[in-house]
Symmetry: C2
Subunit: 283 residues, 2 copies
């Protein structure tokens, strides 16, 4: 499918893509670029690519597909670094959890002879880093692409994701950012926040919280094990949509808090029945 | 272990207890009482007990162990109903998720010749009702008992729970209610609330929320499939502890919201790193 595919950023997603591209035979050469020389050494040791260098421009040189797998706050700087090395006809894509900000960052530096197709696979795992990657991570998961219009480049990127087992969906970038704010960004923020609340309790209560976490805490906070830098960038770069959803969530939670304070069982039951029915019917 | 054990309320927990008591041979006779004649017919059909009646006093008559498995808001009325039928030396226990309120409700009606041992198994499942029960539901789960002091009755109840595979822990009732407010009650309230927030979005956004729920929404809202009436009662009867924890959580979430609004990445990262480390180290 490609002569040379370059992956920049070899965390969970990047290293999974390198593995998947190799398993499915999608590139003659798989090159890796990562600013960390330790990560470069690790991916060579894992044998999931043909080359690895901390010189990102060098990694991207002559590639026909470059996949940016760095935190969304680093995308602009990475794009600026690799832009001079991109060959004519090169397709650049990414895996960032925020799309409008990424598009703005990339387009500022993208050479006219290259094409950018914004992408976001809805896949993850509790652990991060190159060792955590898996070739089947995207299997039967959605990958959302948000190109301004369909082009040969966007069709090529869609074909790549389908080849590694993902279901591709095309969506408007603003809509993606709003949908992800509620399906992913808010749940992660809440998970981090509940663990934080638990951590401020006195020591012996905190121990009990962990001990009895099967009561709901463990399930609700599962996502709090995710990569902090990646999530910091997501919140900073999807600010408007996250604040909008946080505002709505705050209002809804305050209404429940008030019903508890007032002993209003009917109001609580109404929300619980509605939520249970939606949860059961849809998931 | 017992000649006659009576289970009042045959939902997920009650029907699991009937199954477990039978599997482990802990009672010669297992009697069931449930105000719903449909539930009584169902448990007889399932063959998990020897008798089932909607006359709760009749079910409890001559039992040496009575286990109350009704929503915590119904415990006082049930206790009042069965009190005249309890034989001398009878042990009454319960499985309610709130302990201080249950103790007050039960002690109001408990005859002097019977003993009450408050209990709470930390076990559950997404589905409710008698069909959802499982004999191994309590296996390797905690069961917290909160008796005012250790007595022969509390040791008998502890032995019962150990016999069906649970790990027993003795705890102060007020402490139980605080620990459970954060490990279980807050996570459930948040789960219901996030689903509620999602349900108020416009229809096509709502569909996308369900479609892309693998991004965190599905995991955080798993507990929103639980029984609404049971949870309504928990919040009404653990009001003080839940409001205290909600207040703390609200402050912590507001601090994160403010950091997002102000673009304060350092503050976000600090909380995320701390929460991730606690989550990973302990769970």
């Amino acid at each position: 499918m490609f002569t040379k595919t370059t992956i920049i950023g070899l965390g969970l997603i990047g290293s999974s893509l390198a593995r998947a591209a190799r398993v499915h035979g999608l590139a003659h050469t798989i090159a890796c670029g990562d600013v960390s020389t330790e990560v470069c050494a690790k991916v060579l040791e894992l044998g999931i690519c043909d080359s690895a260098t901390h010189d990102l421009a060098d990694a991207a040189r002559d590639a026909d597909l470059v996949i940016l797998c760095v935190p969304v706050g680093a995308i602009g700087a990475v794009m600026e670094t690799i832009a001079p090395a991109l060959k004519p006809g090169c397709i650049v894509t990414d895996v960032g959890s925020v799309k409008q900000s990424v598009i703005a960052q990339v387009e500022k530096h993208l050479p006219a002879h290259a094409a950018f197709v914004p992408g976001h696979p809805i896949a993850g795992a509790e652990h991060s880093g190159p060792e955590a990657g898996r070739a089947d991570l995207f299997n039967d998961h959605w990958c959302i692409l948000t190109p301004a219009q369909q082009t040969p480049a966007s069709e090529t990127v869609a074909a790549f994701w389908r080849a590694i087992g993902a279901n591709v969906e095309i969506m408007d970038a603003a809509r993606h950012d709003l949908v992800l704010a509620i399906t992913s960004h808010l749940p992660h923020l809440i998970a981090y926040s509940i663990v934080d609340t638990a951590s401020t309790l006195e020591a012996h209560t905190r121990e009990d919280v962990m001990k009895y976490s099967a009561g709901g805490f463990r399930s609700v906070t599962r996502t709090a094990a995710s990569d902090p830098v990646m999530w910091r960038d997501i919140f900073l770069h999807n600010r408007e949509a996250v604040l909008e959803i946080l505002q709505r969530f705050g209002e809804d939670l305050t209404a429940l808090q008030r019903a508890i304070r007032n002993g209003d069982g009917a109001a609580l039951e109404e929300v619980f029945v509605r939520s249970r029915d939606i949860r059961r019917k849809n998931l």
